[in-house]
Symmetry: C2
Subunit: 344 residues, 2 copies
DNA sequence: TTGAAAGCGTTACCAC
DNA sequence: GTGGTAACGCTTTCAA
C-alpha cells in the first residue's frame, strides 16, 4: 500500500518537528494568526511551501464542525436548464470557498445510499433542484438539521426556496401573445406535480381567460424534448379550424420539441403558429429556434440561494423563506410580434 | 450556534455509552464484524437505528486514509457531451460506493484554490475530462500521488486515459461520405490543441486523401454551437463551385451549428450538402438535426475509467495505460446515403 | 467475544 | 508569542 514515489504528505506535526516549534504554532502561523511573530510565520510558511503542505480539510472538519461541502441534488440533464444551474452553482460556491458534492442527477427519487451520503460527508448545507416534489433528500436534511435551499422548486416544508416568479412568467407570455392578436392558445404541460410547471401554466391560463378568451387547451407534456415533440405532433394533427395559433411550452426544452414537430409537419413557426417557452436556456436562443422565452435569472437565483444557505450555515436562525425573483422576457422570432408596440 | 431542535448527532461513543459497551464494540458491530455476538450486534443495530446514527465519513477517512471521494473536473457545458459524461460518472461512481466532488466546470484552466481543494479533501482519485491540454489538475494530482484517469482526452504524462478511438471516428465518417459519392469535403476543426479533435480531423483527412481526393479544407471551429454556426455561414457564403458537398464537424455540437447556418442560408442538408459529426450526444439525434454521427461509447468509457481509477486506488501499481474504445457509427438523415449498400 | 488505548490531522483552550 | 493538551469521530492494534 505504501507508495515509495510519494513520501507521506506533510502535516502540521511534521512541519512543527522540522521547524522546532509546537504544532499549535504551525497551525496558527499557517492561518495568519496575528499573534505569531513575523519571523516564525515566514519560516513556517517557507517550510510548508517547500514540503508542499496541504491542510487536510477532513481533519479540520472534524474539529470545526464545518466541512465546506455543499450537497447538490440535480434534476434530469435532458433539460439543459439543470446543467446551466449546476455550472452556476459550482462557480459561485467556489467563489465563496465551498465545494460541491454532487449527489444525484436525474429525475427519479434519490436512493438510500445517496441520501445517507449527504449525512455521512457532513455537508454543511444542501442545494436541491430536482423538480420531483417527493424529494427525499429534503426530508433527510430536515430531519438532521442540515440547511436546505430549493432552487426552482417550492419547498413543501423545512426548507427555503428560491425560484423565478413562475406565475408572472405565464402571465407575461400570455400578455405578449394576446397583444400579438392570438386568440386560440394551448399549453404544453410539464411533469405532473412539479410546482414550477404548474404555476407557469396557471399564470398563463389565468391571463388568457381574464382576457375573455376560452381557456387554453392543456396538452400533456413532460420534461424533455421528446415530450414537446409529441405535443407538437398532436397539435399539427389537429384540423386547421381547431389548431391553436399560439403554443406555450412551460419549459424551453418542451417548446423546442414542439417547434421541431410543427415544422416537420410543414407548419411555419411563427407563420402558422407562435411558440413561446420559459427558462431561458442557451439552446433556445440559437438559430433554428430563436425562441421567445421568459428567462429565469439563473445567476441571481443561485446567488440568492447560496446567500440563504450560507446564512443558515453561519448559524443564523431564520424562518424558512421563499424568494421569488422576477425573470425577463426575451423576445425572439418564434412568436409573432404584438400589433401595437405598447406592452407592459 | 447550538441548534436546540436537533440534538447532537449520535456517535460511536454515544451509542457505546447507551449500550453499555465499548466504542470498539459498537464500531465492529455496525460493520458486521463476525466476532461480535448476534445479541450485542442486534442491540447496537437497534440503538443506532433509533438514534438515527450516521457514520461520519470524514472521521473514517482520517484513520482509513480513504475518503470515498472522486474529484471530477469537467469541460464546458456548452457541449452537452460533458454533461452526459457527468451524469454517467455520478451514477456509476455511486453504484461503486463513491461520491463525486465536482471541482470545475468550464473550458478555462482550473484556479489555484480549486486545485488545492483536490488535495485538501483527499480525493481518492480524479476523473478529468476537460479538453484543455493544460490541465493543472492533472499535474497537481500526479505530484501528490493521486491517481488520475483522463476521459476523452489524452494524457501527456502521469495519468491513464480512456478515450474513444477518435482516429477511427474520422476514418469511418470519411469512408461513409466517400461511399456516398462525396468529392469535396471540409472539416470544421475543434479547439486548437485538443487531442480528441485533432485525431478526429486527422483520421478524416487521411482517409479522404488516401482515396485520391484533394485534402479537405479545414475551417476554424471551436467547441460550441456558435463556432459551428460561424463555420457553416462561411461555407454557405462560398461560391457554388467551391462549396464542399460534405462537412465533418469534429464534434456534434459543431456540426449542429453548421447545419443551422447552412439551412438558414437556404441550403438543404443533406440535399445540397451532407453534414456529419462525432460524439453521439442526444440532441444531435433529434428531429431538426438527425445527425449522422460517430458516437462515443460513453457508458463504457466511464465504466473503464472507473475500473482503472479504482484499481489504482486499491493499491495496484500499474503503468499508465491508454484505453481506446471503439465507437459506433449512427447513420441518420443528415448525410446522403452510400450509393451501394456495401459498407464495412 | 469484548474492552482499553492509541492514533489519524487539525484546531481550541489554557498556561506560560 | 508560544507550547502543551484535549478534543473531534472513527478504526485498529493489543490485551483480556
Amino acid at each position: 500500500m505504501e507508495d515509495p514515489q510519494h513520501p507521506a504528505r506533510a502535516t502540521v506535526a511534521s512541519l512543527a518537528r522540522r521547524a522546532g516549534v509546537a504544532a499549535s504554532t504551525v497551525s496558527r502561523a499557517l492561518r495568519d494568526d496575528p499573534r505569531i511573530s513575523p519571523q516564525v510565520r515566514a519560516r513556517i510558511a517557507a517550510l510548508a511551501a517547500e514540503a508542499g503542505y496541504t491542510p487536510n480539510a477532513l481533519a479540520r472538519t472534524l474539529v470545526s464542525g464545518r466541512s465546506g461541502l455543499i450537497g447538490l441534488v440535480l434534476g434530469p440533464i435532458e433539460n439543459p436548464f439543470y446543467t446551466e444551474l449546476m455550472q452556476q452553482a459550482v462557480v459561485q460556491a467556489a467563489a465563496r470557498g465551498y465545494r460541491l458534492l454532487l449527489l444525484h442527477v436525474g429525475s427519479g427519487p434519490i436512493d438510500d445510499a445517496t441520501a445517507a451520503a449527504l449525512l455521512q460527508y457532513r455537508v454543511d448545507g444542501c442545494l436541491i433542484t430536482s423538480a420531483e416534489l417527493s424529494s427525499r433528500a429534503a426530508s433527510v436534511c430536515a430531519a438532521n438539521g442540515v440547511p436546505v435551499v430549493m432552487i426552482n422548486r417550492v419547498a413543501r416544508e423545512h426548507a427555503s426556496a428560491v425560484s423565478c416568479d413562475n406565475l408572472a412568467a405565464g402571465e407575461t407570455l400570455a400578455d405578449l401573445l394576446l397583444a400579438a392578436g392570438h386568440r386560440r392558445m394551448a399549453v404544453i404541460a410539464g411533469n405532473p406535480g412539479t410546482s414550477t410547471n404548474i404555476e407557469r401554466a396557471d399564470g398563463f391560463i389565468r391571463r388568457v381567460t381574464a382576457a375573455g378568451l376560452p381557456a387554453p387547451a392543456v396538452l400533456p407534456g413532460g420534461g424533455d424534448h421528446a415530450a414537446g415533440y409529441a405535443a407538437g405532433q398532436a397539435v399539427a394533427a389537429l384540423p386547421r379550424a381547431e389548431r391553436p395559433d399560439a403554443l406555450f411550452g412551460v419549459s424551453d426544452i418542451l417548446a423546442m420539441g414542439a417547434m421541431d414537430a410543427l415544422r416537420e409537419a410543414g407548419l411555419s413557426v411563427p407563420g402558422d403558429i407562435s411558440v413561446v417557452g420559459a427558462d431561458g436556456i442557451a439552446a433556445a436562443g440559437r438559430p433554428p429556434y430563436r425562441l421567445t422565452s421568459y428567462a429565469q435569472p439563473l445567476e441571481a437565483m443561485v446567488s440568492r440561494g447560496l446567500d440563504l444557505l450560507l446564512a443558515r450555515i453561519g448559524g443564523a436562525r431564520m424562518p424558512d423563506e421563499r424568494v421569488l425573483l422576477r425573470g425577463q422576457l426575451i423576445r425572439r422570432a418564434s412568436a409573432r410580434l404584438p400589433l401595437e408596440a405598447a406592452l407592459t
